[in-house]
Symmetry: C2
């Protein structure tokens, strides 16, 4: 099944304890698309400025990523600059230049309207619904959001959630959206808003999924060195939804494998700046790392 | 196999967002012993004051816990008072009255000297070695420690670690002991100090174990409400080591099951103040919760 993704395509300037990267390719739709494209064809919807050249498009070319929905307009590409703490567990945003992203009005090419899976990246919830309205009859609709929208446009977020089957957010966002500290209680409240499946991303502490079959917990892969966490959550979403679309299934067993595949892709993402590690993968190395998660978590019955 | 445990037996005064408990039974050896006694006989070594009466001993009686090593001397029992934050993720110690625990000199009854498994709870590392020297030929030696000793007596901690097969500590302690932020690097450094098996407790984020077979990650059970986290780490150790002793095995497969059993017991501990929930369990309810961990973590191969 093909996946339509809408989100940001950006330049990131990142400082970590291990180094500095200047205006490298980033943005939620970029990480998502490259990760998902290892499993399913991706239809990308986004906007870049006239400073986004062929050398940047090269990351997407030669992959199962349709770029007809990547609009290029006059002006500068969205630029985010951040600095991570020594332990990589917190980051400060130093600047956010929305540039052409500020007035983004997603346009869905006719060729994308039959997409079976839709991922509404973290944009204005009103725009998320406008995108969704242009897709004919998607089988699975997933979305992301953030505290900026949860606080700024709560009614719009909830209106969008009514149309969504899978919500992927982090633990803080789940707590803010539900007003509950316990993630078990938060999940009950959020699932009642619409999404039957809630995936809570906890960074280095892994992922919790809540669906109609119950709870599923997956660890993050413990790594010698996390080089740059930027994009790990979007990469998780890409691996998760790309794999799920490739199975054609939506049951609990497929969702669990999809969580592990998302975690697998995220574990690669953090090993280098930007999409550098994600761009050099192949299915055998991805599948080998999936098996590492099996070894990491297996235990016998009593 | 029988387990000798040395540690604190205390009164705790605890405030959580859900309530207040005044001078209730606590201490590392108390939580450990009750949890372990569901699986293996326990030989308890500790000290209490003359304010520790039959009503408190009642928690241990009628269980597989030998109390001949629980010394009772003139003075007051160790008393700890703490207050948890609203999210239960941090706590302030309001007061620590060591009382009779301050001059604790563990004495090992002759009947305990054949114990096959030893758990050196979090006491002065010099005392830990004195206890160990009084046990004839233990098959498994496990221990705990804390930042107070890691900073205050680093050479003594390392001397003790040379004699230990299994170290159970939390993530902050693992980082302090090794000087490494990455838990993978920390584990390599700590395993080189002696303990072939390192179990890192991460509270609500579960447990990571590092042994000669590799890494094992176990989640904590997501709960509707964590009532009082006091004693969860010691209860984990009791379930872990009690179960391991009951198997007579020390290989990776048994260690993994033991981690899940420790997590199972800890998930009960936090449901009530003091040992209240631990005291009312039976093997069928324990085994049923172990199976919840199986459902929580299982996923299929690709």
């Amino acid at each position: 099944m093909s996946i339509l993704v809408v989100g940001s395509v950006a330049f990131d300037t990142v400082e970590t304890p291990f180094g500095h990267a200047e205006r490298v390719l980033g943005g939620s739709a970029s990480f998502f698309s490259v990760a998902a494209s290892y499993f399913s064809p991706v239809n990308l919807v986004g906007v870049v400025g006239d400073d986004f050249g062929e050398e940047h498009l090269g990351a997407f070319r030669g992959r199962a990523i349709d770029l007809r929905g990547l609009e290029r307009i006059e002006g500068k590409t969205f630029h985010w600059q951040g600095r991570y703490s020594l332990d990589l567990n917190s980051r400060d945003t130093i600047r956010t230049d929305l540039n052409v992203f500020e007035l983004f009005q997603p346009k869905i090419p006719a060729a994308y309207r039959g997409s079976e899976v839709v991922f509404l990246g973290n944009i204005d919830p009103v725009l998320q619904r406008q995108v969704l309205a242009q897709v004919e009859r998607p089988r699975v609709v997933a979305c992301d959001t953030m505290n900026f929208w949860i606080h700024g446009k709560p009614a719009e977020v909830k209106e969008t959630l009514r149309k969504v089957q899978i919500l992927l957010i982090n633990d803080q966002e789940a707590r803010e959206l539900s007003g509950e500290w316990s993630l078990v209680k938060a999940a009950r409240a959020i699932r009642a808003m619409g999404p039957g499946t809630l995936v809570v991303k906890k960074g280095e502490h892994g992922v919790l999924m809540f669906d109609e079959a119950g709870m599923f917990a997956a660890p993050a892969l413990p790594l010698e060195r996390v080089f740059d966490p930027t994009g790990a959550g979007d990469t998780f979403a890409g691996g998760f939804l790309g794999y799920l679309a490739s199975t054609g299934e939506t049951g609990d067993a497929a969702l669990r494998r999809a969580v592990i595949m998302g975690s697998t892709m995220a574990s690669f993402c953090v090993e280098a700046f930007s999409l550098d590690r994600l761009l050099e993968l192949d299915r055998p190395s991805i599948d080998a790392r999936y098996r590492e998660f099996e070894r990491l978590t297996r235990f016998e019955s009593l």
